[in-house]
């Protein structure tokens, strides 16, 4: 198994890539709120996730690069779906029975809504992480008066994750080369025999890598002064940014108002009767 959650920058020239990082930061902050809090029925959640996924599509991010993320979202949604289908406590309308379990229409709707809410996250996270150059992001944060040490900590984390996943994969390879046939083990045996011995070397090597990173950073005067300069000019705000911002903010404001009125985004007359807003 390869760890593949690598949300690294993919150099491309698309509308989304050209957006000001600040626009994308606002997108990533607001749209998940719309999806998770305001869009409370399947149709509304579907609309919001379609909006988020449209951004992803515009950014032309290859599916192969976010495969792991997709698998995580789909797998956890599937679990939710099954659980809600049979165990949703308000479930009344029985669709079918499975031994003593009753699958209900309401449960199905709840599961589906949760799945669609997760799809919003799937659409949002890569848009910021995979289309923004880190240096551009850093300048934007510095414009927001965030200390550069803090923004660099974030950058380092982004850089460090792939390093750790590389180490993880090579230790795994080293074990396979010593007849440790994890390819033919059951999941539980794997946990005990394959993943457990990874922990010690993973920590030791990660610490070593972190030390090396610190040496390399400080040798390049990192942290010498409170402020620093930037070679790159700060990213510009263009007409496209205004259009994008208007679409995000108006969607957010409308959703907030609609949520107070109807408990979800869409008014009752635009929803089929089964799409009842979720109540917690």
């Amino acid at each position: 198994m390869k760890m593949g959650i690598r949300l690294e920058y993919i150099p491309k020239d698309t509308v989304i890539h050209r957006l000001n990082p600040l626009t994308k930061i606002i997108f990533v902050l607001l749209v998940p709120i719309i999806g998770f809090i305001f869009a409370n029925d399947a149709i509304s959640a579907a609309l919001v996730s379609a909006y988020a996924l449209a951004w992803l599509a515009l950014a032309r991010i290859p599916i192969s690069r976010i495969k792991t993320l997709i698998i995580i979202v789909l797998a956890s949604s599937a679990l939710f779906m099954v659980v809600q289908l049979f165990f949703y406590w308000r479930g009344e309308t029985v669709i079918f029975r499975f031994f003593f379990l009753k699958a209900t229409l309401e449960g199905l709707h709840v599961g589906l809504t949760i799945f669609l809410k997760m799809m919003v996250i799937l659409g949002c996270v890569p848009v910021l992480a995979m289309t923004t150059r880190i240096d551009q992001f850093a300048i934007t944060l510095s414009k927001l008066k965030i200390p550069y040490q803090l923004s660099f900590a974030l950058i380092t984390a982004v850089r460090f994750l792939p390093l750790v996943s590389d180490i993880y994969n090579s230790i795994l390879d080293a074990q396979r080369l010593r007849a440790h046939d994890i390819d033919r083990m059951s999941f539980l045996t794997k946990l005990r025999k394959a993943y457990y011995p990874l922990i010690v070397p993973l920590f030791i090597t990660s610490f070593r890598t972190a030390d090396e990173l610190q040496i390399a950073l400080e040798s390049r005067a990192f942290g010498a002064y409170k402020r620093r300069t930037y070679l790159e000019s700060p990213p510009r705000v263009t007409v496209v940014d205004y259009i994008a911002l208007i679409s995000i903010i108006s969607l957010f404001v409308y959703s907030m108002i609609a949520y107070r009125a109807w408990g979800t985004i869409l008014p009752p007359w635009l929803r089929p009767s089964w799409a009842v807003p979720l109540r917690y």
Partner: protein
């Protein structure tokens, strides 16, 4: 002249209690180009870290004595302040680049120094030019070759306008031509831009050819020699004792001296040696014996009669669709062969190794081991036939003791306990680690960790042993120790040995057959002498034959066999005419 670095009575002990430097006294003058040599563990890296304050500011430990850089005492000033004076470039090219473009990485240090944007742009542009990185500005550093990465790190230091550069084994992971390119950039910085250079290095031949100002030999934390490179590197006995390789040209010169051949001065590079030898040949003081090739070599018989152990048929593999790593490789390896795989960084050598042992699967084509298709085998099954020791020992060792580390694989083979005991003991004794059997692997030094990875493979007793870059970051002695073990396994037990390396002298000394790779293809495959004679093709993949072979090739007009592989062979092909 004024000292830019002055070290007085420096003694340093690591927090772990290891005494790394003892009574170091050193004055370095502005504009000097100094190379520090010594075996692994001699204290080279420690000395580098002392120069820009990493010791004691980050690493700590106990430091006695004084270190002054531009008359500033390092212990009293922060690393950030010192970094304006001293730039440090570390061994691992991956570990020192942080940004997503070459340009951003070059600017990184100068940005931290709050240089205004106009000046930044100018500094970055000129640093990129000096380090010959034009055209790569917008590339991601992770896509560059090792040599290019090191040049990006250099450019970044340069953009900080550090007048002193400290380079810790910058070429240890580079192919031969990548090494020469980096060294030529460094020399240019020194000569044209007045940068003072302090560099640690293992590659004595290249250093000698560079024409550096001064060589310092470190041994167990003490300076044992300090002076002119030609002079220091001629002390063959001392070099041998402290584990530094004697350059081939010096070795040759000493042979000539012993035979009382008249020399105005000792040659210190290939050119001088060629001039000297051609004038000696001209004046008939030397004559070429007409024996080609020298009798000491045993050319191996063509193996066509035997069944191949590993058969690779038109294999393709790519990590990403845009950049194929292996593009149609076909090879056959036979029992008892000793094979070297060479080629520039990124030419597909490691990928090929991983394909053979089943860590990767070919996209197209077929690999069979003892006639069985690897697609039907797991890596766990393949490793009983082909044992691979990978590059970085740190990513392969995970047990709590050296002994357990070796036993891990043997237990997976379900061997009886006494057999495991027996094999562990003999493998650890073979590499000289038996006395350390109870220690934790990560507390061993780098060379010992490397040997442990070899012991692990040897204990599993596979008929084919595959070593991926066993020579990287190893000193001269360590390299030869590992290779001698392989040689004895090859000769005594008939193991097939495959070695991936950048060290052409290792290849010349041990390998009978050489496979040259370039851009995912096999460029050459043949006997070592045949391959080294094709220098044009080798150049394409950044390979240069060892200095002595190049010297012999330069003398081919006189009838010197161009397939010479060692100093001894060259000497024995020449006859001394007295009188």
């Amino acid at each position: 002249m004024q000292s830019v670095i002055a070290i007085r009575n420096l003694t340093y002990t690591y927090p772990t209690g290891v005494k790394a430097l003892k009574g170091i006294n050193l004055e370095i003058e502005r504009g000097e180009y100094i190379v520090i040599m010594g075996a692994n563990g001699a204290g080279k890296t420690t000395l580098c870290y002392c120069l820009n304050g990493i010791i004691p500011h980050i690493i700590g430990g106990e430091l006695q004595g004084e270190i002054y850089v531009e008359e500033i005492r390092t212990t009293d000033h922060s690393i950030a302040e010192l970094s304006r004076l001293v730039g440090l470039c570390i061994q691992n090219p991956e570990g020192q680049l942080f940004c997503q473009t070459v340009r951003a990485d070059v600017a990184f240090g100068a940005e931290n120094l709050c240089i205004p944007r106009d000046e930044l742009a100018e500094r970055v542009a000129s640093s990129i030019k000096v380090c010959r990185l034009e055209g790569l500005e917008n590339r991601s550093p992770s896509d560059l070759s090792g040599g290019q990465k090191q040049r990006v790190a250099l450019a970044s230091i340069l953009a900080m306008r550090s007048k002193i550069m400290v380079l810790d084994e910058p070429t240890s992971q580079l192919d031969p031509i990548g090494t020469l390119e980096l060294l030529s950039v460094i020399r240019n910085l020194n000569k044209e831009h007045g940068v003072t250079v302090v560099m640690t290095e293992h590659k004595s031949d290249e250093i000698l050819e560079q024409g550096v100002d001064r060589v310092i030999l470190l041994h167990k934390g003490e300076i044992v020699a300090d002076g002119d490179p030609g002079e220091v590197l001629s002390k063959a006995d001392l070099l041998e004792r402290i584990g530094v390789k004697t350059p081939q040209v010096i070795e040759l010169a000493q042979h000539l001296k012993r035979n009382e051949i008249p020399m105005e001065r000792i040659p210190t590079n290939i050119n001088e040696a060629r001039k000297l030898l051609s004038s000696l040949l001209d004046r008939k003081i030397l004559e070429v014996k007409q024996k080609l090739p020298p009798p000491s070599s045993v050319e191996e018989s063509k193996p066509s009669s035997r069944e191949p152990i590993i058969k690779i048929e038109d294999v393709y593999f790519s990590y990403t669709p845009e950049s194929p790593a292996i593009r149609g490789v076909s090879l056959q390896f036979y029992p008892g062969e000793f094979i070297g795989i060479i080629g520039q960084n990124g030419s597909g050598k490691t990928t090929l190794a991983k394909l053979i042992v089943g860590l990767l699967r070919p996209d197209k084509g077929k690999i069979s081991i003892f006639g069985k298709d690897t697609r039907e085998m797991t890596p766990g099954e393949i490793c009983k036939k082909v044992g691979l020791a990978m590059q970085n020992p740190d990513h392969q060792l995970f047990s709590l003791s050296v002994k357990e580390e070796v036993e891990f694989g043997l237990r997976n083979l379900n061997l009886p306990d006494e057999e495991i005991e027996k094999r562990t003991e003999s493998a650890l004794k073979l590499v000289g680690l038996w006395e350390f059997r109870e220690m934790a692997p990560f507390t061993l030094d780098f060379g010992a960790r490397r040997k442990l990875t070899v012991a692990i493979v040897v204990a599993m007793n596979p008929p084919v042993i595959f070593l991926d870059e066993p020579t990287t970051a190893q000193d001269y002695r360590g390299r030869h120790e590992i290779m001698e073990i392989m040689k004895s396994l090859n000769e005594r037990h008939g193991n097939t040995i495959i070695v991936v390396t950048h060290d052409m002298e290792i290849v010349a000394k041990y390998c009978k057959r050489v496979v040259v790779m370039g851009q995912g293809k096999v460029l050459l495959d043949g006997s070592i002498r045949e391959v080294f004679s094709k220098s044009e093709i080798l150049k394409q993949t950044y390979i240069k034959p060892p200095p002595i072979t190049r010297l012999a090739q330069g003398l081919s007009a006189f009838g010197v066999p161009p397939s010479i592989l060692s100093v001894d062979e060259l000497i024995s092909s020449l006859k001394f005419v007295r009188g």
